[in-house]
Amino acid sequence: MSVMELDPRTALSFPKAAKMLLKETELRGNVRRATETIQAKRRKLVAEKDDWQELRESARQIRAHVLAHLGAYLEEFERNLTRAGGTVHWARNAEEAQAIVVSLAKEAGAQEVIKIKSMTTEEIHLNGALEEAGIHAYETDLAELILQLGHDTPSHIVVPALHKNRAQIREIFKREMNLPELGSAPEDLAEAARRFLREKFLRVHTAVSGANFLIAETGGICIVESEGNGRMCLTLPDTLIAVVGIEKVLPRFGDLEVMLQLLARSATGERMNPYNSIWTGVRPGDGPRKMHVVLLDNARTEVLADKEGRQTLQCIRCAACLNACPVYRQTGGHAYGSVYAGPIGAILTPQLMEMKHGQSLPYASSLCGACYEVCPVKINIPEVLIHLRNEVVKRHGPLAPEAIALRMVATLFRSERRFRAAQRLGRMAQTLLARRELKIVGQNVGQADWGDSQWIHWLPGMLGGWTRSRDLEAIPSESFREWWDRRSK
């Protein structure tokens, strides 16, 4: 398939992109298999923790506490990292962050950089900016490598290439690594990546990363990973530049005892991921001699200022909500037109775009609540979705069709007389549209019967927007109130 642009400013609206992607049966199969596998592993490991709910509650409180004192913790982090020999930079937006990274890489004399998977650097489209400055970035996470060599974009926060199957990956590696004899077993593909990247790890002296957590108390950085590419990038080069959203800070080292337990189980369905690295600044003889952290705002302070939206920033990017979401599982990640897909993307993207773009995303949900249930830091995603839908309607002004329609409904519902009249009118209007349906009764598929209720599958004009993807139950021939009145006579 063609590469979907993951820039919310230019991306197709969610329904349009989803409609295209729903035709990609191979992609949907890949997404379904992968999300089912992660979910099954997650469920098993969450079930063995009898204090899971207590951990979630503590994590929520820790993250909410950080946001409530964000300025203080960032300053504390800056002080401690500086003391430990690192340098902190501040970037108001993507352009500033790009410029800082480019100039630091140039200062290090880099023509190439190796990268640890980082959604934050994807968010600011860093690779393109480096390329323009004549610096080539090598993605070293296996999934990101697959995407980079395949000229593709991430469709999942934790497993960004989950929309690709092994045969597709083999084709990419065969072509891009010039390995005509490459086998298709996952082991062969991983071995090819190991050889391809080892040479880069040994040769390239500048690395770019994100971070999972910053620790205010020590000025420490925590990076969570599986493959060891992260360790390669953060120990072998001379210079390491980490681009980190300002919300990623934790108060104390001890808070990791909560976060690490939740993150691995939620993200990959492991008790613990293979490697966690935690280090503080520069240590002579061990790791990079220059350590930079670029603290990125990019509209996060706007999200912080929104009372209802703020909890979005509690996110620790585990992607459990993607795997659990019935919408994501159908469309995959590219339909969201953003590096942040799924339920968290549906609330994060429009807010990071200051509600100017990604306005269809808060509607890309059935509000079933599965995302809230699995969220390790208890972000009430459905609540934020509804809040953002409200914001979208407000932005469209009082004359938008949805606003007018809802005002009319409000007027009808306010008076019993008007409500009853509307019901009678609706009953008349629906006679040509409502149909009784055969429905399966009991366990046996062969047994079907006419159901009691009638259903509407098509509505005319603008109302058709509702029935295009949903069935509407018809207004019954007698309402409860009418039945009650008749009964009490």
Binding site: R194, L197, G220, T235, P274, Y275
Partner: protein, 223 residues
């Protein structure tokens, strides 16, 4: 006066006008965070050791329970079995642990103490042996904290085989206990290792050994 405001000042100003609180309340608010998750161990120490062994097996690591006096012969045997030719060791690793390896006349094993080798030089080693600071049974995690017998981070990363010594007294049951022990060394470079390097990026199939060591053997040493 110039009207140019630095990014730092502007971001901090935006944060403070976003209805956040200052540093003065932070400590008191932090103390109020509820922590009713499990903090203490439930298992006996013997059961904790068994659990660690079980978890490490699940990751495909091999586990050997030995007395201190048996480390040398175990290491010699394991290195021979793995076909190790060049092993890098941290400068602070007890010499007696490797006394049995490389000494036999027919042995071709070269034992080299770390001497700030660059990445390319490290790539010429097939093996590394270190001690460890803490091991967490619940998750099968071994923690290296840059102690003299653990060395710097790169030496346990580039060679393909890691032979790691865990002292029984350093084994705890839960992540919470483990992280609390690490509080004493929290500013050191820490590496938490839970099984050999792995990926699930291809069809969610766990494949061992992408970039870090592919083979991990653990010697659990009786106190």
């Amino acid at each position: 006066m110039s009207a140019v405001i630095s990014a730092r000042e502007e971001i901090l100003a935006c944060i403070s006008s976003a209805g956040t609180k200052g540093a003065e309340d932070a400590a008191a608010d932090y103390a109020r965070i509820e922590r009713s998750y499990r903090q203490a161990a439930r298992l006996s120490h013997a059961a904790t050791l068994d659990l660690l062994e079980e978890r490490l097996h699940e990751y495909g690591a091999r586990v050997f329970r030995v007395a201190e006096s048996e480390i040398a012969s175990l290491c010699a045997r394991l290195l021979r079995e793995r076909g190790a030719r060049r092993i890098v060791v941290p400068a602070g690793l007890p010499e007696k642990w490797l006394a049995g390896a490389g000494s036999a006349a027919e042995s071709t094993l070269e034992i080299v103490p770390d001497a700030d080798f660059d990445a390319a030089a490290l790539d010429s080693f097939d093996s590394v042996m270190t001690a460890s600071t803490v091991a967490i049974a619940e998750t099968g995690t071994i923690v290296l904290a840059s102690a003299p017998d653990e060395g710097r981070r790169a030496i346990t990363l580039v060679p393909d085989y890691h032979l790691c010594v865990v002292r029984e007294g350093d084994v705890v049951e839960t992540v919470v206990e483990g992280m609390r022990r690490l509080d004493a060394v929290k500013e050191m470079p820490l590496t938490l290792i839970s099984g050999p390097s792995a990926t699930a990026d291809i069809e969610m199939t766990r494949i061992k050994g992408v970039h870090g060591p592919r083979f991990l053997d653990v010697a659990v040493v009786r106190a």
